[in-house]
């Protein structure tokens, strides 16, 4: 989490208008200087580069979704036939709705499970004890490991003759196939949960640290039991940061390409054919670039809802932080 000092400074930037009037008093006093000698040319290197490598491709993605682009027309894509919304209607006829459903349910379930895990982890490491540093380091392991490493090792462990099935067999359970068939959906969710909960933990931890020592002392003097205290005193502090974390986590679940790709390979089994996978397979294996651009645009619209909520909540969170101090 952004610390208090930066957050209050962050307020004018992430919220409201960008004019000098909206900035802190210091800014107003020095407006003369900042207004007269704005070295905006310094924006040029970064700005031009970002326009070229981000702005241009994004615009192009919109155009690609409207043309009939495949391996034959790719060589001269400027002359590819314009077919309007044809790609979009075809996308919805060829399983895009299924992928949207898989993606959204996968993201929501993953977030719903990781949130309590992360909050619990933050609460148990809040009180100091010998060895807490080690526990905190352990909690970070799944998050620090690169996604492709996590996916690779779980893929190995979940092979039909892998360690998971061996251990399950010892207790009399038949593991079966984890990486194909209907169970693959739950495999994806379980591995994502294993890898992603520390993110909620980190955000919740930052939220817990904004709770003043006096709050603890006051509720201790009141003789509050642990559960009412946790429920009514501590958890309200966590609501803002954890909601924010959940939004961000959901976005990253929806956008996660590495995990399904490395776990299941491409093309993915039907049960884990999430949005990034269907876009990838349609373009780089089916070579239907126009069609997959349309699918990518749809996935942008899909995340636009939580993303918009996040961009707004970012501002809300700053206000809450300010009040909390």
């Amino acid at each position: 989490m952004i610390d208090d000092r930066t957050t209050t400074r962050a307020a004018p930037g992430t919220s409201g208008d960008g004019t000098a009037a909206g900035r802190e008093p210091v800014g107003r006093r020095r407006r003369g200087v900042t207004q007269q000698q704005r070295p905006l040319w310094l924006l040029a290197p970064g700005g031009i580069l970002m326009t070229l490598v981000i702005g241009l491709p994004l615009l192009l993605a919109g155009y690609l979704s409207l043309i009939d682009l495949d391996q034959y027309t790719l060589r001269r894509w400027l002359q590819a036939p314009f077919i309007g919304v044809g790609n979009f209607t075809e996308a919805f006829q060829t399983g895009l709705l299924h992928s949207i459903w898989i993606s959204v349910s996968f993201a929501v379930i993953s977030t719903a499970v990781t949130a309590p895990l992360g909050v619990a982890a933050a609460i148990v490491t809040q009180n100091a004890y010998r060895g807490r540093g080690v526990v905190r380091a352990i909690f970070l392991i799944p998050y620090v490991l690169p996604s492709f490493v996590v996916a690779s090792v779980w893929r190995t462990m979940l092979q039909p003759d892998g360690i998971v099935n061996t251990l399950l067999a010892k207790v009399g359970v038949t593991g079966g196939l984890w990486l194909s068939g209907p169970k693959s959906y739950w495999t994806l969710i379980l591995v994502e949960i294993w890898a992603a909960w520390p993110f909620i933990y980190l955000m919740a931890l930052a939220g817990l640290q904004s709770v003043d020592g006096e709050v603890h002392e006051a509720s201790a003097l009141d003789g509050a039991n642990w559960w009412p205290k946790l429920r009514h005193v501590i958890l309200p502090y966590l609501r803002g940061p954890v909601l924010l974390a959940c939004l961000l986590a959901t976005l990253s679940h929806i956008n996660n390409f590495t995990l399904p790709f490395v776990l299941f390979g491409a093309p993915a089994p039907d049960d884990v054919n999430v949005m990034p996978m269907i876009v990838y397979v349609t373009s780089f294996q089916g070579l239907r670039f126009g069609l997959s651009a349309a699918m990518a645009i749809v996935s942008l619209l899909l995340i636009a809802v939580p993303l918009f909520a996040y961009l707004r909540a970012l501002r809300l969170d700053v206000h809450e932080d300010g009040r909390a101090r």
Binding site: P57, W77, H216
Partner: protein, 297 residues
């Protein structure tokens, strides 16, 4: 960066009054979470120290420890090429993003102009747009550079470098924005009244003061590249593939073999994770704080 979740000492010392959970519950939850993390990690380490045969027989604890998987893997998989490519490309991305990000962030933080807030919002928003949405047009642009201009871009390292800038640049810039906001203006104002130019201020005052943040923003750019599979799997050839792609290809091809080489697989995975773990161990405080600030892995 000033963004790390460490507890002030006074609160840590306060003890019983601040206990959030009864001790038994605390112990149970802690043990559960640690086991959830450590059991798979322990198995990965043990399997990498086992032999391929031992792992295939289903041993959790190796019959005999050996480091042979760590030596064999270099000939079994294309790992050394991959790691070298990753280091070169991601290293360059880190330097370019940190440098350009710092300059851009400085202007964004210190000066007001039309569209400033839109740019800041876009920097945050860009971190959450699907990678596939950017990869497609980048791929088409790169391949048309071959068709229309006769330039080979796909399969080259610098093509990958440019592609990685699409997500590394906004992220590094945002990391620098969050840092520079906390930096007091007084020093540079003093220099400005003495007639120092913006460039002098930027490189003589801002850069030294924010060196830790610049390093962190570079490391994040590096990690974004190192962890990427999507762009690298499309934009590289076997000679220029990254460590991530090398591992993924190794993983999906070895399964067809008669004897599974799971032990080498685990060793390769740990080797690929090593640079990242190392960076976290060195820069732990800064990186952990930055993670939550940017919200991106």
């Amino acid at each position: 960066m000033t963004l790390s979740p460490t507890v002030p000492r006074r609160r840590a010392a306060a003890g019983e009054a601040h206990r959030l959970l009864p001790r038994p519950l605390l112990v149970i939850i802690t043990l559960f979470l640690c086991a959830m993390v450590l059991v798979p990690v322990l198995y990965i380490v043990l399997a990498s120290l086992n032999t391929d045969l031992g792992v295939a027989e289903g041993q959790f604890w190796p019959g005999s420890f050996s480091g042979t998987s760590y030596t064999k893997i270099w000939t079994t998989a294309n790992l050394s090429t991959g790691i070298l490519n990753s280091l070169v490309v991601c290293g360059l991305v880190a330097v370019a993003s940190a440098l350009l990000g710092t300059i851009t962030a400085y202007v964004l933080v210190r000066f007001s102009f039309l569209g400033r807030v839109t740019i800041l919002r876009a920097l945050v928003g860009l971190q959450s747009i699907p990678g596939t949405l950017l990869l497609l047009p980048v791929f088409v642009l790169f391949s048309s550079a071959g068709n229309y201009l006769g330039l080979t871009v796909i399969g080259t390292r610098w093509g990958l470098f440019v592609a990685y800038l699409t997500f590394a640049l906004p992220f590094s810039t945002w990391v620098m924005v969050t840092y520079l906001r906390g930096l007091p203006r007084e020093l540079e104002e003093a220099a400005r009244t003495e007639g120092a130019s913006t460039l002098v201020i930027l490189f003589r005052i801002i850069a030294p003061l924010s060196l830790p943040a610049i390093v962190v923003s570079g490391i994040f750019a590096f990690l974004l590249g190192w962890n990427d599979v999507l762009f690298a799997s499309v934009l590289t050839s076997p000679e220029t593939q990254t460590a991530a792609v090398a591992l993924q290809v190794f993983g999906s091809t070895q399964e067809g073999g008669a004897l599974p080489v799971y032990s080498q697989m685990m060793a390769a995975a740990l080797i690929c994770a090593a640079p990242v773990v190392l960076l976290y161990l060195i820069f732990q405080r800064y990186l952990v704080g930055g993670l939550t600030a940017g919200g991106v892995k």
